[in-house]
Each structure stands twice: as C-alpha cells, then as structure tokens.
C-alpha cells in the first residue's frame, strides 16, 4: 500500500514537471477554487485565532495509517465570528472533517470551505469575494 501512496505522489510530481506550461500559475491565486477536498476524521493539532487569518493545523491519516500534516486558512476572527466561530471552536485533539480548496501547488495547504465538528456543528468560512482578497482580514 505504501507503494500505492508513493506512486500517487510520484505521478503528481511527474504531472507538475511534464505539464508545467499547463499549470502556469501567474495571474491566478494560490488555490483551486473549483474543487473541494474532503478530509474526514482528521485530528486538530493547532488552532490559531489570529489576523490576518484563522489557521487550522491538522493531521490526516489514510486507510493505511500513514499521516500527512495539513494547514488550512479561514477568514479573520472578525469575519468568522459572525458565522459562529469562537476562539474555543477547536482544540488540539478534536476529530473533525475539513473541506477545503487545495493549493494549486504540491502542498497540503488549503482555504477552508467548512468544518464539521464531532457534535455535528458546521462552521463555514467567510466569503472569499473581491478576487479572493476580501476576507484576508
């Protein structure tokens, strides 16, 4: 199974190498905003309630027990507070499901779409309008 994972990453790396021109990123922002990645039953390792962004670090474990470290950003406290978030919304160790827009590049980083807590509560991120700039703060 480790071979499958290795093959996955290898293929992805190969795609980026071979298809460079197709993936040219100048003129676009960091994230793929047309796709949402769903990471189920991930474990929170750090929750940062700060400007310019609320940040969430978490570990995702695949079916074979292999852990990958992820980071997600959401709107500023001023923005997400209006949507029900608080500084206590997440704690290290919480098991949650995260939906995010992934980086266009090879990294486990994304812009949060929404978070589902263990108790069923859903926390949505703030709007990302104005060409992706609006909710930077």
């Amino acid at each position: 199974m480790k071979n499958k994972l290795f093959l996955s990453f290898a293929l992805f790396g190969w795609i980026l190498t071979v298809c460079g021109p197709s993936f040219a990123h100048h003129g676009t922002a960091s994230y793929k905003t047309d796709k949402v990645v769903v990471l189920k039953h991930v474990t929170v390792t750090k929750y940062v309630w700060a400007n310019p962004h609320t940040m969430l670090l978490f570990d995702a474990k695949n079916d074979h027990g292999i852990v990958s470290h992820w980071a997600g950003e959401a709107g500023s406290p001023a923005a997400v507070r209006l949507l029900g978030w608080t500084k206590l919304s997440l704690q290290p160790g919480d098991v949650i499901t995260v939906q995010l827009y992934p980086s266009k590049f090879e990294s486990n980083v994304g812009r949060v779409e929404k978070i589902e807590l263990a108790n069923g509560t859903t926390l949505r991120d703030s709007p990302r309008g104005d060409r992706g700039v609006l909710s930077r703060y």
């Binding site: 499958k4 994972l5 093959l7 293929l11 992805f12 790396g13 190969w14 795609i15 071979v18 298809c19 021109p21 197709s22 990123h25 100048h26 003129g27 676009t28 922002a29 960091s30 994230y31 047309d34 796709k35 949402v36 990645v37 769903v38 940062v48 700060a50 400007n51 310019p52 940040m55 995702a60 695949n62 079916d63 074979h64 980071a71 950003e73 500023s76 001023a78 923005a79 209006l82 949507l83 029900g84 980086s103 590049f105 090879e106 990294s107 486990n108 980083v109 994304g110 779409e113 949505r124 991120d125 703030s126 709007p127 104005d130 060409r131 992706g132 700039v133 609006l134 930077r136 703060y137």
Partner: protein, 273 residues
C-alpha cells in the same frame, strides 16, 4: 513528450485514482450561513430619528470592502504603475507585493475602500477626527479654514512630506453634508485592492451625507491627472449606526502575518515537498 496535455490528463487521472488520502468533489455553491459583516447583520436599521445638524460623531458600520466603480482610463504612466502591482487576487500571497501583505498602512483613500467594517468620527474644535477600526488609527480633518498644503513631496526644503493618510480639510456645505478634500497621500499606497495606483498628484473628495440618525452616506471622487485621464467617482457607499457604539479590535499584526506566511502563504505558493 509529444503530447504533454494528453500525458498530463492521463497522469492526473491516475494520481486521483491511486491516492486514498482525500477525494475531490465539485465545489458546492458557497453558503456562508451568516452575514459578511456587521453592516449586513444590522440590515435595515431604520432612521432612528432625524439627522442632527452638522454632526457625524459616533461609531459606524460599513462593508468589509466598498463596492467600487470601474476606474477611469489610465494614462500610460498609470498603466505602467498598475502592471507593477501584484495583487493577492492574481498572485499567490507569497508572490504578491500588496503593501498590506507586510502590514504596511492601507493609506488613504484605500482605508475608505477596504476594511471599513468600522469607522468613527469625533468632532473637536477646529477639526474632525476620523477613526478606523482596522489597526485602530485615525486621520485629522481640519475644519478651521486652513488651506490644503501646496507642493507636497516637492523638491524644496519647505515642501511638506507625503503622508500615508495625506492632508485633509473639511467643511459643512449645509447642515447635513460634510465635504472633505485630501492631498498628499503617499504614493506607496495602492488606491484599492485591485492594485490601481495613484500618484503624488492625487486629490480625493469625500462627500458625507447624514441621511438620518442611523444612516450615513459617502461619495468618494478620485482626481489624479497623472494616473487617470479624468476624475471619477470610485464608490458611493453607506454606513449604519452601530448600536453598541464600540469597535472590535482588529489589527494586522506583523508577527502573526509572518506566521501566516510561514504556515500558509509560502507552502501554498511553492509547495512543501
């Protein structure tokens, strides 16, 4: 590789099939489940009574970002400056040169076009002070009849220096309309989030209209002949009386910004592997 696009497509499909960490789905239509800002949350807050005469004092809620009109056609110099600006809308944050990325001041008039969740006014003898929730800063609007300074940024030793928030004078046109003229805004600041530039020749006019007790309108006109071929109204916005009459604390904190760049900005733009 004879057909890189085909290879790319096949490779991507293979990677998605093999990977079992995560799966992608079509993006649902965003449903934020709440208001974008206090302005939206307040909704129609009613008139709250008649507008007081010649009075802006109080705390006001605005939109996170003003709704902007298209800018006037740019001059060749303006276009040259514009193309040097890399916005976070067009570039990964790590590659952007938006001054805000380093917590540099928004400057004026960008401070009236973005991060306007909260503004406040207080009136003192000879001046009106406008305060901003974002970064808890203020600007002085002189009402004692003094003229605007001339030759800001000029070569003479006496020429005043440009300022991030410029030099402002204001007057009451009548009991409900307060007009503010500003010159001398530091050209390192951007006009707006789209990276439109301005020159040291920028003149800005704000026209505040106290509609009633709870509502304040503003029209902002840009006149910068070095950058734009004609003056234009960049926004017509409105503000609502904040019932609690207080701000949230909302800073751009350089150390937190640095953490953000390390944890999110750089990996998002350049990968981590």
């Amino acid at each position: 590789m004879r057909n890189p696009l085909l290879s790319c497509a096949i490779g991507l499909a293979s990677a998605l099939l093999v990977s079992s960490f995560a799966f992608a789905q079509n993006s649902p239509k965003p449903n934020y489940g709440g208001p974008e800002d206090l302005y939206e949350k307040l909704g129609d807050n009613g008139a709250g009574g008649a507008a007081p005469h010649r009075e802006l004092t109080g705390f006001w809620a605005g939109r996170v970002a003003a709704r902007l009109n298209p800018v006037a056609p740019m001059t060749p110099w303006g276009l040259e400056q514009f193309h040097l600006h890399k916005t976070t809308g067009d570039y990964p944050v790590a590659e952007s040169n938006d001054p805000l990325k380093a917590c540099d001041p928004l400057g004026f008039p960008r401070s009236m076009l973005f991060m306007t969740r909260g503004i406040a006014f207080t009136q003192m003898p000879g001046r009106v002070i406008e305060m901003f929730q974002f970064n808890r800063l203020w600007r002085e609007i002189w009402t004692d009849g003094r003229p605007l300074p001339k030759d800001v940024g000029g070569r003479s030793a006496e020429a005043p220096d440009p300022r991030w928030y410029g030099y402002s004078v204001g007057h009451w046109e009548n009991d409900y309309n307060f007009v503010v003229d500003t010159v001398g805004s530091d050209a390192r600041s951007w006009l707006d989030n789209a990276g439109h530039p301005h020159s040291p020749e920028l003149r800005v006019q704000e026209r505040y209209t106290r509609v009633d007790h709870n509502n304040l309108d503003v029209t902002i006109t840009i006149d910068d002949p070095k950058t734009y071929t004609k003056p234009f109204v960049i926004t017509k916005g409105s503000f609502k009386w904040i019932p609690q009459q207080e701000f949230e604390e909302q800073f751009c904190v350089p150390s937190e910004e640095a953490d953000y760049q390390k944890l999110i900005g750089e990996p998002a733009a350049h990968g981590t592997k």
